[in-house]
């Protein structure tokens, strides 16, 4: 979109703002440009430090765009929206970021774990805890050596898309305390656009159970068709070892 195609005016802002339920892609992009421009020109009035906030104002503008601008579902409400109103909305949004000192008291659980007689097993499955001998023995049953499988896994990992490597390396593989939530991954909004694609990738919970359609996932397909390990519940041990080696490869790649 060229600069001359964008009408940076209150009238155009108002028109787009009040048509959000029906904008096309070009118009959403135009609205973003107007909002970005208006909020940045007001930059000398919007200093994040005043609100005790850190980071870049661009990130806050993007947050505002996602959480406020794009989330409007009431077509009946029509308000005259000027650059001043927009700036006011944005400042209110920034002030909301300050509400961080609140202490919460939790008096309910919705996980069904309040009953002492029905305690969920929060320990990881023993299938994911192997001694070196167990690993060697299991691998040899399937015709693998550890070196061979590691090489195949590295080849697979190197062939993944960058976001897939990042999810495996920083989100799935580390222990709980070291693992990053998806918001902390280098692509800050990875979670917005690709969060749910972990299912397609084949990231699974560490329990004794495999999803039935697991071999349709990226990792599942590789295990089943490339490594020749059938995706079946009885093979859970070798599959767990493959995952373990995948993590070793991924974390090693991070260290380079």
């Amino acid at each position: 979109m060229t600069a001359m195609a964008i009408n940076f005016s209150d009238e155009r802002l108002n028109e787009l703002w009040n048509s959000r339920e029906a904008l096309n892609k070009k118009e959403w992009g135009e609205l973003y440009q107007i909002i970005y421009k208006f909020l940045n020109v007001s930059n000398n009035k919007i200093r994040l430090g005043i609100y005790g906030l850190e980071g870049e104002i661009d990130d806050y503008i993007n947050d505002f765009y996602i959480l406020k601008v794009m989330r409007n579902f009431n077509a009946q409400e029509r308000e005259a929206t000027t650059r001043g109103h927009l700036t006011g909305f944005f400042k209110c949004f920034l002030i909301d970021q300050q509400r961080k000192e609140k202490k919460y008291f939790v008096n309910q659980s919705f996980e069904g774990d309040d009953d002492d007689d029905v305690k969920p097993q929060h320990e990881e499955s023993k299938h994911f805890d192997f001694s070196p001998d167990e690993i060697s023995e299991t691998l040899s049953q399937f015709g693998f050596s550890q070196e061979d499988l590691t090489a195949k896994t590295k080849q697979f990992f190197d062939g993944l898309e960058e976001w897939q490597q990042v999810v495996i390396t920083l989100h799935h593989c580390p222990d709980s305390i070291d693992s990053l939530t998806l918001s902390q991954l280098p692509q800050r909004y990875l979670q917005s656009a690709t969060y749910y694609k972990v299912q397609q990738l084949g990231i699974i919970h560490k329990t004794n159970k495999l999803p039935r359609d697991y071999k349709s996932t990226v990792i599942g397909k590789w295990i089943h068709f490339s490594l020749g390990i059938r995706i079946e519940q009885e093979n859970i041990a070798i599959i767990a070892i493959v995952f373990r080696i995948l993590c070793v490869v991924a974390l090693s790649a991070q260290d380079i």
């Binding site: 947050d63 996602i66 794009m70 109103h85 002030i95 929060h122 909004y189 329990t207």
Partner: protein, 409 residues
């Protein structure tokens, strides 16, 4: 509380659910005459809201810097993807009327009688419609949220096979079921639609939530992964919660939202269930609300607990026969308390801008007679007996007098 930082912060989520909408903040900043003094004072009593309104007012009063550069910027990739998802959703017809599998926006709540409940949300709730009860016509469903980083073991994330859906929809809260009434022939706004097969997966997870044996992975806050559930279905969920877990607070916030969404149908169901042998308090409440509706044309909101000034009711999950609070109109609340089977007490709370004269008449004799100004309550009027002819008379600033029986016919 755990040190794991999830996005958005809990306080921001709470404010988006229960705080003031941007439109309300704008009205406060512009000193909209339609806002009552009480509403304004209540809103500004919060220091953050006061700052928001002050900054907003200042912005509107001052001229803004001129725009001197007209360069455009590159839109980030992730935003492009969100816009694509948004546009794809807007261009898809998910059906204009309620259907199972739709992800819908709630702009207003209705009772099964067709009345609009006086509940206002800062952020419109999103719901996945499951099934409609053929007898009551009430829709059963689940709350839907966008904050996928807070996903727990019983939150089903939407998946690529569910596309297109609005980016505001992230996961289905299986632990947060709702019941709503959707009027016949009133169009709904749908933000997506799950296939029948996916709805079976959702129901399977719901069944596991209620009946499962709970073999769970370790807690890992912010982590999501695939897992099998009942009947061979696969879903993507988070991990179980632990004690010191920000997701507990998150669930509490959304459960409260679900509670409000459920309130109109729950109240209606409670009344229907006690229709044959209602308690005295329930019968009196029903009579008062009907009388008020006949006199004023408005449907009061009834709660078992106090109703907040800003207009949302905090209702409990069980009906009470010890007290009822009837919000007769925005600025007038009648509370009735029953401690035993023979006597009751009442109290009125007025928050309007004018005044209201209150008289309680017990067997023809005035036992309470006073004028309420803004923000005043009557003292508890005690010693009223159930089987006597009691009345409440209200006279408003416009000289309108209403007489409300306080005995059950």
């Amino acid at each position: 509380m755990s040190n794991v930082m999830l996005y958005p912060p809990l306080e921001q989520i709470e404010n988006s659910l229960f705080g003031l909408s941007d439109q309300m903040l704008q009205k406060l900043a512009e000193k909209d005459a339609a806002l009552s003094k009480t509403i304004r004072e209540a809103a500004l009593s919060d220091k953050f809201t006061a700052q928001q309104v002050a900054d907003f007012s200042e912005i509107l009063a001052e001229p803004l810097d001129a725009i001197t550069s007209f360069d455009s910027v590159e839109i980030p990739d992730f935003l492009e993807k969100l816009i694509d998802a948004k546009v794809a959703t807007q261009q898809t017809d998910f059906g204009k009327y309620p259907q199972s599998g739709q992800l819908i926006v709630i702009n207003q709540l209705n009772t099964p009688k067709g009345e609009i409940a006086d509940l206002h949300f800062s952020q419109q709730p999103l719901i996945l419609l499951d099934l409609q009860d053929p007898q009551t016509k009430v829709w059963h469903g689940f709350m839907v949220a966008s904050e996928v980083q807070y996903a727990g073991f019983w939150d089903a994330l939407l998946e690529p096979q569910d596309e297109p859906f609005d980016p505001a929809c992230g996961m289905v809260q299986i632990w947060n079921p709702v019941k709503i009434s959707l009027p016949d022939n009133q169009p709904i706004k749908a933000l997506g639609k799950l296939s029948p097969l996916r709805m079976q997966a959702i129901r399977a997870l719901s069944a596991e939530y209620l009946l499962g044996e709970l073999e769970m992975p370790a807690t890992k806050i912010g982590y999501i992964a695939s897992r099998p559930t009942f009947y061979g279905f696969t879903v993507v969920t988070g991990t179980p919660l632990k004690n010191d877990d920000p997701r507990r607070v998150y669930q509490q916030l959304y459960h409260h939202t679900g509670d409000l969404v459920n309130a109109p149908v729950r109240e209606w169901l409670a009344q229907a269930q006690t229709a044959e042998s209602p308690s005295w308090l329930t019968a009196l409440t029903k009579q008062i609300t009907q009388t008020w509706q006949d006199l004023k044309g408005q449907v009061p909101i009834v709660s078992d607990h106090s109703v907040g000034v800003l207009g949302y009711a905090m209702s409990s999950s069980e009906s009470s026969d010890k007290e009822k609070h009837i919000l007769l109109q925005d600025d007038l609340c009648l509370s009735i308390f029953c401690d035993d089977d023979s006597e009751f007490r009442i109290q009125l709370d007025y928050s309007g801008n004018d005044f209201v004269k209150v008289a309680v008449i017990d067997e023809g004799r005035k036992v309470q007679d006073m004028t309420l100004q803004t923000g005043q309550k009557t003292p508890l009027c005690t010693g009223l007996e159930r089987d006597e002819d009691n009345r409440l008379e209200l006279t408003f600033a416009n000289d309108q007098t209403l007489s409300i029986p306080l005995s059950v016919d």
